[in-house]
């Protein structure tokens, strides 16, 4: 009988000088919370499970659609047919890949009320999300409890990653003081995304996780990496000197404004209207001209100075200049949040 629990299954990784048997045992004893299991998240989960990270909690709010299969490497057509949540489908695949580690799936929307419990006990947090609201929440939690985390983002052919070890590197808010206002930046739905750049960025994130969890945090990449696989550019911009130099509310003043609910969105299901309202408290006014340009591939987008309207995925979106949106055609708050992140961004 084949022994899948033997540490020998990691022999090639242990033979690598940077990990060794000691590093492998540390990996096996480590716990990770993976926030988001879409494009980046599936590549991250695949790498971590194969590497033998002992405990992986996969958190995602979404279901699998055919358009996910182009880049979300853990999913297949059967998962779409079965209408499985991403966290659950991922957990099944991961258990089939490595039955000797502990995989937990959590189907939920990450917000300020649950992020603390989702990350409790984790040695490291991985970012597989598609929006800055959750990233700033992760950053708050990571700094508050002194946990490392790895940011990754992709759009089009472009990707970016940075590793945060609180008090040793700048945090996300040191580098990106604010998220682009809703509608001012591309999303994967408006600008598309190439599968290969997802794999590259998530693989770099996974490597950073392996370095930290195997006990080699000194080997992390302390800079911001930006890659464009279509334009053939690789940039490593220096951010390490920002530590202590910027007046960061989070890591310098220990004000956790995202967990405290001072920023972020609020959602309400509008009873009897089959609609959900999402309010956004980020103090940036939306430019409808920009948003209309981003959304033009979807078809008709109309706006005046009071509101912008468009249709996508059988829902009618009405967006207001302060970032508030009413999404008609669903009463499911999680779905509405997903649609908001997908088309309006943040």
């Amino acid at each position: 009988m084949i022994d899948f629990k033997s540490i020998d299954r990691y022999s090639r990784q242990m033979r690598f000088h940077g990990v060794g048997e000691e590093g492998q045992r540390k990996l096996l004893a480590s716990k990770v919370t993976l926030c988001g299991c879409g494009a980046l998240g599936t590549v991250l989960a695949n790498n971590l499970a194969r590497a033998g990270v002992g405990s992986i909690k996969v958190v995602d709010r979404d279901f699998i659609e055919p358009s996910n299969l182009q880049r979300q490497v853990l999913f297949d057509e059967n998962d779409v047919t079965e209408n499985l949540p991403k966290a659950e489908a991922a957990a099944r695949k991961l258990r089939a890949i490595n039955s000797s580690i502990n995989i937990e799936s959590v189907v939920t929307d990450i917000d300020r009320t649950n992020i603390e419990s989702l990350c409790e006990g984790a040695d490291l947090i991985l970012d597989g999300t598609d929006n800055f609201e959750i990233r700033y929440l992760i950053n708050d939690i990571a700094v508050k409890y002194n946990k490392p985390w790895v940011y990754g983002g992709v759009i089009g052919s472009n990707g970016m990653t940075m590793t945060i070890i609180p008090n040793q590197t700048p945090c996300l808010r040191c580098v990106f003081e604010a998220a682009p206002s809703p509608g001012s930046a591309d999303t994967c739905e408006t600008a598309g995304v190439l599968g290969p750049v997802v794999n590259i960025i998530a693989s770099m994130q996974a490597t950073e996780a392996i370095k930290i969890l195997s006990g080699k945090p000194e080997t992390i990449n302390k800079e911001l990496v930006q890659i464009d696989v279509w334009e053939n550019t690789y940039r490593r911009v220096k951010i390490a000197p920002l530590l202590g130099k910027v007046d960061c509310p989070c890591c310098k003043h220990r004000k956790f404004e995202w967990i405290d609910g001072e920023f972020g969105s609020q959602t309400t299901s509008l009873c009897g209207r089959n609609a959900v309202q999402i309010s956004n408290r980020t103090p940036n006014k939306i430019k409808f001209e920009d948003m209309a340009a981003q959304l033009k591939t979807l078809g008709d987008v109309s706006f005046n100075k009071f509101m912008l309207k468009f249709n996508a995925e059988d829902c009618e979106f009405t967006v207001f200049p302060d970032g508030r949106a009413i999404i008609k055609g669903t009463s499911d708050i999680d779905r509405a949040k997903t649609l908001y992140a997908r088309y309006i961004g943040h």
């Binding site: 494009a39 980046l40 998240g41 983002g153 759009i155 682009p180 001012s184 999303t187």
Partner: protein, 90 residues
Amino acid sequence: MAVKIQIPTPLRPHAGNLASVEVIAITVGEALGELCKLHPAMEQRLFDNGQLRRFVNIFINDEDMRYLENLATPVKDGDEVAIIPAVAGG
């Protein structure tokens, strides 16, 4: 001093669809000002009442200008100024 400003993909429609724009300037702030003169639609994408928007990050030869001298950071011939927005998708 002739410096090259790298324009990120989402902002290119506001800069004549160019990937980079060359300007003459002696500081980063002046370089961005020249860019906005050439492509006025960039002004409101980069600035809000004369202040650089908080989600716009500027790097000079891959160094973050905030630990240099911010917009007053001097530039020399051949320097590369990159506008790098955060990437949200995933």
